[in-house]
Amino acid sequence: MQLNTLIIETRLRTAWSSIDLGIVLGRMFWLRGFFLYLVVAIPVYALTRLLDDSHSVLPYFILWWCKPLFERPILFFMSRELFSNKTSFSQTLGYFREWLFSGIGWILSVRRLSISRAMYAPITLLERPASRQYSQRAAVLGNKFSSESVWLTIVLFHVENFISISLLVVFVMFFPEQVDISLAWLNDLRVNNSYIDAVFLLVMAAIAPFYVAAGFMLYISRRVELEGWDIEICFRDWMADYKGRSTTELVSNDV
């Protein structure tokens, strides 16, 4: 691990400030994250279309349940970009073996239920511990910041749904009255409607880069603190400087 290649300023942060840093990271890689999310999500969306209208909210529920799976490629390329390893859209897809399979059963079952999953997802994907070690590791990292990671999920889940509903409302508001668009969902929100699910999915994909990055930064901040990354970086820079200077001094003395 080359700490000097980190693209973030390493200093001790509060949980909230770590989440904010995640938002900055998410903004930086938003476009790539958005499309990678959709690449994984659209096949699942297509499968849910096979269900007929009697299934009410089931398609949405399936999409919602699979969120950790869709978020995987985002976390993967961000974990590389964090250390200045350029990983483009197509390269990320090319590395699919790295992010698609490991721990996939866990994140779609037991670990799906964790409200603070964003903070613990990097453990499953990047550290890949055995299940017993996982809970130890999660306990150590979650010793601090666990309640903030819960709030992160709650807030961004609400933001996501508020934006989705707003978009649908705006759509209806700006549609000419004369045209009958017969939006059945206005009368019955439980109706399975491809368009509505698509809007929700698009907004999920738009929020996901922020959510993944914020959780990842919570995880990184805990490691910065537990492993003293900020101190190590400063000390190494100092010694590199010091050694550099003493060699030049020696050379100049020789001359």
């Binding site: 980190l6 693209i7 973030i8 300023e9 001790l12 509060t14 909230w16 400030s17 989440i19 904010d20 840093l21 938002i23 900055v24 990271l25 998410g26 903004r27 930086m28 709030w151 992160l152 807030v155 961004l156 609400h158 933001v159 508020f162 934006i163 509903i165 707003s166 978009l167 409302v169 705006v170 508001m173 922020f210 914020a214 603190e225 537990l226 492993e227 003293g228 900020d230 101190i231 190590e232 400063c234 000390f235 190494r236 100092w238 010694m239 010091y242 050694k243």
Partner: protein, 228 residues
């Protein structure tokens, strides 16, 4: 330039002021607390006003107006930029140059909540906070305000009471001093092996007879904090 969430202001005197910007998640939660307080007051008041008939209705609407439009403004101007919700999250509203916010900008940013709320649930404001560099909603952009964290102590200083201070034998830059101090205050969080590993990095700058590198670094940190 490394990614950070800091707002930097260069003053004419040449000193840099900085503060950490507060983003969407803590701000949303602070807003939720303020909203709960306002709704709570309105519910309690609504119950009382039932007994006053039409006069009660009139009073109720006046209180609603004041709470909705003046509650944030008054708190921001006269309580150091903090509404009650912001106080819980230790954040405050300041001007972009980090000076306290006055009546004008505070009114602007709060009146423009009308724009941020469009079309529902502050969707526009949320998107704006996510997208702008300094986490500003439309009201902030118009008023030239930002929301930052109040300074906090990240460490508990009681952890180094047992440490013996060591006088350093080398000069250090400000960043290096902070690293030594953080090392000292970080006692008990990092594993012992890890502490040793990091402290060994600066071995070349220690006196030759230093036996335990991490004790030395921690001691210097304590010395820098003022202990002798």
């Amino acid at each position: 330039m490394k990614l950070d969430t800091v707002a930097l202001v260069e003053t004419p005197e040449g000193t840099d002021l900085h503060a950490d910007l507060a983003g969407l998640v803590p701000r949303t939660l602070a807003y939720a607390i303020d909203l709960l307080i306002r709704v709570g007051i309105m519910c309690a008041l609504g119950f009382l006003m039932l007994f006053l008939g039409e006069v009660g209705m009139g009073l109720y609407l006046i209180v609603f107006f004041v709470l909705e439009w003046w509650y944030p403004v008054l708190f921001e101007v006269y309580r150091g930029g903090q509404t009650l919700g912001k106080k819980v999250f230790n954040i405050k509203v300041v001007n972009e140059d980090l000076t306290p916010v006055a009546l004008g900008p505070s009114l602007t940013r709060n009146l423009l909540r009308g724009a941020d709320i469009f079309p529902l649930f502050y969707a526009t404001g949320c998107i704006s906070i996510l997208m702008t560099e300094r986490f500003q909603r439309l009201g902030d952009l118009a008023a030239g305000t930002i929301v930052v964290y109040c300074e906090t102590e990240l460490y508990d200083r009681t952890t180094i009471e047992q440490v013996e201070a060591v006088t350093p034998v080398h000069t250090m830059s400000e960043d290096q001093q902070i690293a030594f101090i953080n090392f000292a205050l970080n006692k008990g969080r990092m594993s012992n092996d890890r502490q040793q590993e990091i402290a060994e990095i600066v071995r070349p700058r220690m006196p030759l007879n230093t036996s335990n590198a991490s004790d030395y670094v921690r001691g210097v940190g304590k010395w820098l904090l003022g202990a002798r």
